[in-house]
């Protein structure tokens, strides 16, 4: 494994296989908290923080515990358990020692306990047989891609708010159409190949 492999994995996770625009993971927060760029950034930060840590911890749990007892088939259950406990732990830790960061992340931290993007990042580590370092880098990069998508989309939505579409399109329908168009634009990156 060289540094270029890590960079390729990260670039792929951010751009070509963006979690939201090409895999459609984490669509709930993507549509739910993209009203304002500032809240979108808060959510992105929280996801980045949790995803990076959870990928490291789930890697350890998987290889130290599940593999040893041939329990790979239970990884989904185990990962959910680990992530939920980890988020709780992080929340308590931050509230005590880094209150500034705790206030900045605020409500978003507990919200992502069951975010499917966090779980899928952990599952993809196993599927792609990443080692410890690449797992963490992949989690970090995938979350960066998530942040990029949600912040860009919040900017689009700010413009949609003042637009005057036909009544049937107003609000959520237009939001979904805009999301689809953005996903289509990102599919333009899928031609990039490093192998």
């Amino acid at each position: 494994m060289s540094i270029s492999t890590v960079l390729i994995i990260m670039f792929t996770a951010i751009i070509t296989e963006n979690f939201i625009f090409s895999k459609f993971y984490g669509c709930c927060p993507f549509l739910g908290v993209s009203d304002k760029p500032s809240t979108a950034l808060g959510m992105g930060m929280a996801v980045t923080f949790v995803m990076t840590l959870s990928n490291g911890v789930t890697w350890i749990i998987y290889h130290a515990l599940l593999e040893r007892f041939n329990l790979e088939y239970l990884k989904t259950v185990a990962f959910i358990l680990v992530i939920a406990a980890l988020v709780q732990f992080i929340e308590m830790f931050l509230r005590k020692f880094v209150p500034a960061l705790y206030n900045a992340l605020g409500i978003y931290l507990p919200l992502i306990t069951t975010n499917c993007a966090v779980l899928s990042a952990a599952l993809l580590d196993v599927q792609n047989e990443y080692n410890f370092i690449t797992s963490i880098c992949f989690g970090f990069a995938a979350a960066l891609g998530f942040t990029l998508a949600i912040v860009v989309f919040a900017g689009v939505r700010a413009r949609l708010d003042v637009a005057d579409p036909p009544k049937a399109f107003k609000g959520f329908p237009l939001t979904l159409i805009a999301a689809g168009l953005l996903a289509m634009a990102f599919s333009g990156f899928s031609g990039i190949n490093f192998s």
Partner: protein, 266 residues
């Protein structure tokens, strides 16, 4: 066979137990002492999270009071007197409740009175309309009447009637959300008790106002002369009532030739 079931169960029960213990210990180690007073005050506050007190929400205001950082204990306009008294009891000090204020839209130029400079076909939003040479009405201080204040009001206290926003004082909690959003700055806070207010803030001189609007203050000073308590003055070409001096006698309303001194009763 038996092993294949018992091992996963044991491992997962163990995992859950370990995580549970870790979290339980962590919650003890990392516990942050929350002020008891802050929690009590938080319970008393109305949880509208409107921001009228100047803090980001009810919880933030409660914390500020408990720490002694809040400027005053009667800043919650939504809760009014009962909440201020409760907070006073919790903190052990006497709190004088603030006078109740309500928002008033200072414009009488409904569609039948005000003249328009162009026909506006755009987003039904005052902020957008105000960017097109300050709205469609000729008077620069006229209510645009597209209801940005209506949509920002959480208490359904505002409605647009015939092109001018009107406040229902019973629903208004003085959170000032409409005051902040109005692009024309024509919403003002008026004491709930005062019966009269000048419903025009036109900053144009008399002849100009007369040209732009069939109602609207022309600064004729009749009300100033009629007032026996020296409560009315003309500033910026429109009459203003000093609510500290006003005794709600209604003489100004009777003499106003433009009928812009409004009263609650009408």
């Amino acid at each position: 066979m038996f092993k294949e079931i018992i091992i996963p169960i044991a491992i997962f029960a163990g995992l859950g137990l370990v995580f549970g213990i870790i979290l339980a210990v962590a919650s003890k180690i990392f516990s942050v002492k929350r002020d008891e007073k802050a929690e009590k005050i938080d319970d008393v506050l109305p949880h509208a999270n409107c921001g009228a007190c100047g803090y980001s929400g009810c919880a933030a205001y409660a914390e500020a009071i408990a720490k002694g950082e809040a400027k005053e204990l009667n800043l919650c306009t939504v809760g009014g007197e009962p909440v201020a008294k409760h907070i006073g009891e919790i903190m052990g000090v006497d709190v004088v409740a603030k006078k109740r204020y309500v928002a008033r839209v200072m414009c009488s130029g409904s569609n039948q009175y005000s003249k328009k400079k162009y026909a506006y076909h755009g987003t039904a939003d005052c902020l957008s309309a105000a960017r097109l040479s300050g709205g469609d009405k000729m008077c620069p201080n006229a209510c645009i009447g597209l209801g940005s204040c209506v949509s920002v009001c959480k208490y359904h206290a505002l409605s647009v009637i015939d092109g001018v926003a009107v406040v229902n004082p019973e629903n208004c909690v003085a959170c000032r959300a409409c005051v902040d959003i109005c692009p024309k700055n024509i919403i003002q806070m008026v004491p709930y008790d005062s019966n009269f207010w000048v419903c025009c803030v036109s900053a144009e001189n008399g002849p100009m106002t007369r040209e732009h609007c069939d109602t609207g203050c022309i600064s004729c000073r009749l009300c100033v002369k009629a007032c026996e308590y020296d409560a009315i003055s003309i500033n910026d070409f429109h009459a203003t009532i000093d609510y500290n001096k006003c005794v709600s006698c209604g003489k100004c309303m009777a003499v106003c030739p433009r009928h812009i001194i409004h009263t609650k009763k009408s």
